[in-house]
C-alpha cells in the first residue's frame, strides 16, 4: 500500500504544478501591466487572460485535452509550443500566397507546395529559405523541356511526397494532370509520369496527394474519386484501385430502398463510396489515409495489402477526433491530413475546428489541441501537417504560413514513452510515462502505459493499480489473471481444504437424508404391516 500512497501524491503534485503555473501566469500578467508595454497588449491581456499570450511570449493556445474512459474531456497541458512561423517574408522575396501541402525530408528540409502560385518552396530546418521552383530544371540546371518541346511548369500542384529511398521528390502537378519527379538533392528533373494509358474506371487523372512505398509503387489520391486510391507501378503504369471506403448506411435509407421498385431506385440519388482525401505511409510501409467525406463510416485508414482497413482502435474512443458535437450541424472532426512517426504515433489535422489529434499506435488519444482564431499559433484554414523529428510542421493556406511546433517537456515525455513502448524498451517507457504523469495526473494513457510496463515485468499487483487508474479494463483483466493465479498458488492449502470440507458437507447431508428417508420408509412399512395384520385378524 505504501507504494500506492506514494503514487497518490502524484495528483497533489500536479495540482501544485498547476497552481504554480497559474501564479506564474498571474505574475507575468502583473509584470506586463506594470511595464505596460503598450495599451493594446494590456487590453488584450485583460480580455483573454487564460488563452492569450503571457508577457514572456509563452502561448497557451495549444493547451489541450484528452478523453477519459467515460468520454469526458480532460484538460491536459500543452504537448507542443510554437517554435517558429515561416511566412512569405521568409521566402526570400518570392511570392507565397498559400501553403497547401508540406512534407519533410530526413535531413530536416521542409517542402511546401503553394497551389495558387504553382510553386514548390524549400526551407531549412531552422526555417531559412533554401529553394523555390515553378519552372522545372534539369539536373545540370538547364530549363527542362517536355517531349513536345514545351517548358515544364508546375500548374496548381496540390501534393508532394519525399521518397527517401531513391532520393526523389514526387510532386502532384494537378493542373497538368501529371506527376513530376525531381531529385531530392539538386531539385533537377528525374522523370515525368503522365496519365497512364490503360487507366480504367471513370476517375480523371488529376493527382492531388500521393505517397510512394518501399517497392516504389505510387499511390495517388484523386479528390472526389469514388473508386479508391489510384495505384501505379514504378514506371507509372496503372495497376489498379486500392482501398475501400465504405459509406455509412442509415437505417431509414435501407428501409426505403428495400420498398422501392427498380424504376424508383434508378431515380434515387446513388450512394457513392466516399473518396479519400489524403494519404501517407507509416513506418512499416502501410498506407494510411484520411477522409473528411461526411458519408464515410471510417475517417482514418491504415490499409493492408488487400486494401482493408486495419487501424487499431483500442483506446477509450474511436479514432474520429472529437466525440461530442455541440449542435446538430456540427459535422465533427474533418481530417485533411495525417502524419505518422516511425513508432506509429500519428497526428491528424482537423480542418473544421483547427485541431490536431495525436493518437498512438493502439489508437489511444494522446492529446487534442489547437483552435481556429486570430491568436498567434491558431489557424484559419489548416491544410497539411508533417513530422520533423519530434516537431510538428503545420501549414495554413489562408494565413500563408507554416508553423513549426516543438514538443514541451510534457509532449517530449509522452512521445518518448510511446516510442520506447513501441520498440519494447520497458524501463525507458516507464520513466517517460512517470514524467508525463508528474505533469498531468489526468492522463489515462500514461497510467495504462505504466501498467503495461509493469505487466511485462510480471508485477501484477502494481500493474492492476495503474490499469485501474487508467481505466483500462482489458489489461486490468490480464494483470488480474496473473495475480489470481499467483494467489491461488500461495493459498492452495486453504482452497483445497475448503473444497474438501464442501464436498464432505454435501456427501454427509446426502447420507443423512438417505438414512432418514430409509427410516421413514421402514416406519411406514411397519405401520402398513401392522394395519394389514390387524385387518387379517
Amino acid at each position: 500500500m505504501g507504494r500506492f500512497l506514494r503514487d497518490g501524491s502524484l495528483k497533489e503534485k500536479s495540482l501544485r504544478d498547476r497552481n504554480l503555473r497559474d501564479t506564474s501566469l498571474r505574475k507575468g500578467l502583473k509584470r506586463a501591466l506594470k511595464i505596460s508595454l503598450s495599451l493594446a497588449a494590456a487590453l488584450g491581456m485583460a480580455l483573454a487572460p487564460a488563452t492569450a499570450q503571457a508577457s514572456d511570449g509563452t502561448s497557451y493556445v495549444y493547451d489541450g485535452y484528452t478523453y477519459d474512459y467515460y468520454g469526458n474531456a480532460k484538460e491536459s497541458p500543452a504537448m507542443f509550443r510554437l517554435e517558429r512561423t515561416i511566412t512569405a517574408a521568409d521566402a526570400g522575396g518570392i511570392a507565397m500566397s498559400g501553403v497547401d501541402d508540406v512534407c519533410t525530408s530526413e535531413d530536416g528540409r521542409i517542402f511546401a507546395i503553394d497551389t495558387a502560385e504553382s510553386r514548390m518552396n524549400v526551407f531549412g530546418p531552422d526555417g531559412g529559405f533554401l529553394y523555390s521552383t515553378k519552372l522545372v530544371r534539369t539536373q545540370d540546371n538547364k530549363i527542362a523541356l517536355a517531349e513536345d518541346g514545351s517548358q515544364i511548369m508546375l500548374t496548381a500542384p496540390e501534393g508532394i511526397f519525399i521518397h527517401e529511398k531513391n532520393r526523389e521528390i514526387y510532386i502532384a502537378d494537378t493542373g497538368n494532370q501529371r506527376i513530376v519527379v525531381l531529385d531530392l538533392d539538386n531539385y533537377g528533373l528525374v522523370r515525368i509520369i503522365g496519365e497512364p494509358e490503360e487507366l480504367a474506371g471513370v476517375t480523371q487523372f488529376k493527382p492531388s496527394k500521393l505517397a510512394v512505398d518501399f517497392a516504389d509503387r505510387i499511390y495517388v489520391v484523386v479528390q472526389s474519386s469514388y473508386e479508391g486510391i489510384l495505384e501505379l507501378t514504378k514506371d507509372g503504369a496503372f495497376s489498379g484501385y486500392y482501398g475501400v471506403n465504405t459509406p455509412r448506411v442509415s437505417l431509414a435509407d435501407y428501409f426505403w430502398k428495400s420498398l422501392a421498385s427498380d424504376q424508383q431506385k434508378e431515380k434515387m440519388t446513388k450512394t457513392y463510396a466516399p473518396s479519400f482525401n489524403n494519404i501517407t505511409l507509416d513506418g512499416e510501409g502501410f498506407v494510411m489515409a484520411v477522409t473528411y467525406d461526411l458519408s464515410a463510416e471510417d475517417m482514418v485508414f491504415r490499409l493492408n495489402s488487400k486494401g482493408k482497413n486495419v487501424l487499431r482502435e483500442e483506446g477509450n474512443t474511436l479514432v474520429k477526433g472529437d466525440i461530442w458535437s455541440m449542435n446538430s450541424d456540427d459535422p465533427g472532426s474533418q481530417f485533411v491530413d495525417i502524419a505518422v512517426t516511425d513508432y506509429g504515433t500519428y497526428a491528424l489535422l482537423d480542418k473544421n475546428k483547427g485541431r490536431i489529434f495525436l493518437y498512438n499506435f493502439d489508437g489511444e488519444l494522446l492529446n487534442a489541441f489547437g483552435a481556429m482564431g486570430n491568436l498567434k499559433g491558431e489557424f484559419k484554414n489548416p491544410t497539411s501537417l508533417a513530422w520533423l523529428g519530434d516537431k510538428l510542421v503545420i501549414s495554413d493556406t489562408m494565413l500563408g504560413c507554416i508553423y513549426i511546433l516543438a514538443p514541451t517537456a510534457f509532449g517530449q515525455a509522452v512521445l518518448e514513452g510511446n516510442e520506447s513502448y513501441y520498440f519494447g524498451r520497458w524501463d525507458e517507457a516507464l520513466g517517460s510515462f512517470r514524467k508525463a504523469l508528474d505533469l498531468n495526473a489526468n492522463y489515462e494513457a500514461a497510467y495504462s502505459g505504466i501498467g503495461k510496463n509493469y505487466l511485462m515485468k510480471d508485477e501484477y499487483e502494481t500493474a492492476m493499480y495503474y490499469f485501474k487508474m487508467g481505466n483500462n479494463r482489458t489489461f486490468y483483466s490480464k494483470a488480474y489473471n496473473g495475480y489470481r493465479a499467483l494467489w491461488m498458488e500461495d493459498h492452495f492449502l486453504i482452497i483445497m481444504l475448503l473444497f474438501v470440507l464442501l464436498v464432505a458437507a454435501v456427501v454427509g447431508s446426502e447420507i443423512r437424508y438417505h438414512k432418514q428417508s430409509k427410516e421413514k420408509q421402514k416406519a411406514a412399512m411397519k405401520r402398513l404391516n401392522s394395519r394389514r395384520g390387524r385387518a387379517v385378524e
Binding site: 467515460y70 479494463r473 483483466s477 488480474y480
Partner: protein, 209 residues
C-alpha cells in the same frame, strides 16, 4: 407471528418455482404480504446502487466517481411504482381482477430472481477476468428471463387474463405510464409557474411598501 412470517416466506419460495399456483393463492387466499413486497422493492433499489458501485472493475463500466445513489434508487423504485400504478389504471378499465396491492406483490415477488442474479454479479464479478465475464452475463440473463416470466405469469393470474390480453395490457401500461409522466411534468411546470407568480407578486409588494 413467527408462523405467519414463515408462511409468507414459503409462498414467496413457491412463487419462484410454481408462479401460477402461488400467485393464485396469494391473490385469492390472501397468502401474500404487502410489507414483504415493499421490503423486496426497497432491497431491489438498494441492490441496484450496490451493484452500480461494487460490481467488479473488469465488467463495471459505470462512472463510480460521480455516482448518485439516491437517483439510482429512486429511478428503479419509482419506475416500478409507476409501472404498478399504470398497470392498475389500465387493467381496471380492461376487466382486470387484481387490485393495486396484488400488482405490487406480483411485481416485487417476481424481482427475487433478478435480486439473486444481482447479488451473484456483485460477488463473483470481483473474482473474474474478462474471458469469464460470460458466466456473470449468463446468470444475469437467466435472472432477467425468470423475472419476466414470473411477472407475466403473475399478472395473468391476478387479473384472470389470457396470455394475449395480458400482453396487450402491458403494452397499454407503457402508454399509460407515458401519459402519467407527461401529466406529472405538466403539473410540476404549472405549479412552478404559480409559485413563481406568487413569489414575484410578494416581492413587488414588499419592495413598494
Amino acid at each position: 407471528m413467527k408462523e405467519a412470517v414463515r408462511e409468507k416466506l414459503s409462498y414467496l419460495k413457491q412463487s419462484l418455482f410454481h408462479p401460477f399456483d402461488a400467485f393464485y393463492e396469494i391473490r385469492f387466499r390472501g397468502r401474500g404480504s404487502v410489507v414483504l413486497a415493499a421490503l423486496l422493492l426497497a432491497l431491489f433499489g438498494i441492490l441496484q446502487c450496490v451493484s452500480y458501485q461494487y460490481t467488479g472493475f473488469v465488467i463495471n463500466e459505470n462512472e463510480v466517481e460521480s455516482m448518485n445513489s439516491l437517483s439510482i434508487f429512486l429511478t428503479w423504485v419509482l419506475g416500478l411504482l409507476l409501472f404498478i400504478v399504470s398497470n392498475w389504471s389500465v387493467t381496471t378499465l380492461l376487466n382486470g381482477k387484481g387490485g393495486m396491492g396484488d400488482i405490487l406483490k406480483v411485481v416485487s415477488y417476481s424481482l427475487v430472481p433478478f435480486i439473486c442474479a444481482l447479488l451473484f454479479q456483485v460477488v463473483v464479478s470481483n473474482f473474474i477476468i474478462l474471458e469469464e465475464a460470460m458466466i456473470v452475463y449468463v446468470v444475469t440473463g437467466i435472472g432477467t428471463v425468470w423475472t419476466l416470466f414470473m411477472l407475466l405469469a403473475g399478472l395473468c393470474v391476478i387479473h384472470e387474463y389470457g396470455f394475449g390480453k395480458n400482453l396487450i395490457a402491458i403494452v397499454l401500461t407503457f402508454v399509460a405510464a407515458a401519459i402519467i409522466m407527461f401529466l406529472g411534468i405538466l403539473i410540476f411546470t404549472l405549479i412552478e409557474q404559480m409559485v413563481f407568480f406568487v413569489i414575484s407578486v410578494g416581492q413587488e409588494f414588499f419592495r413598494r411598501l
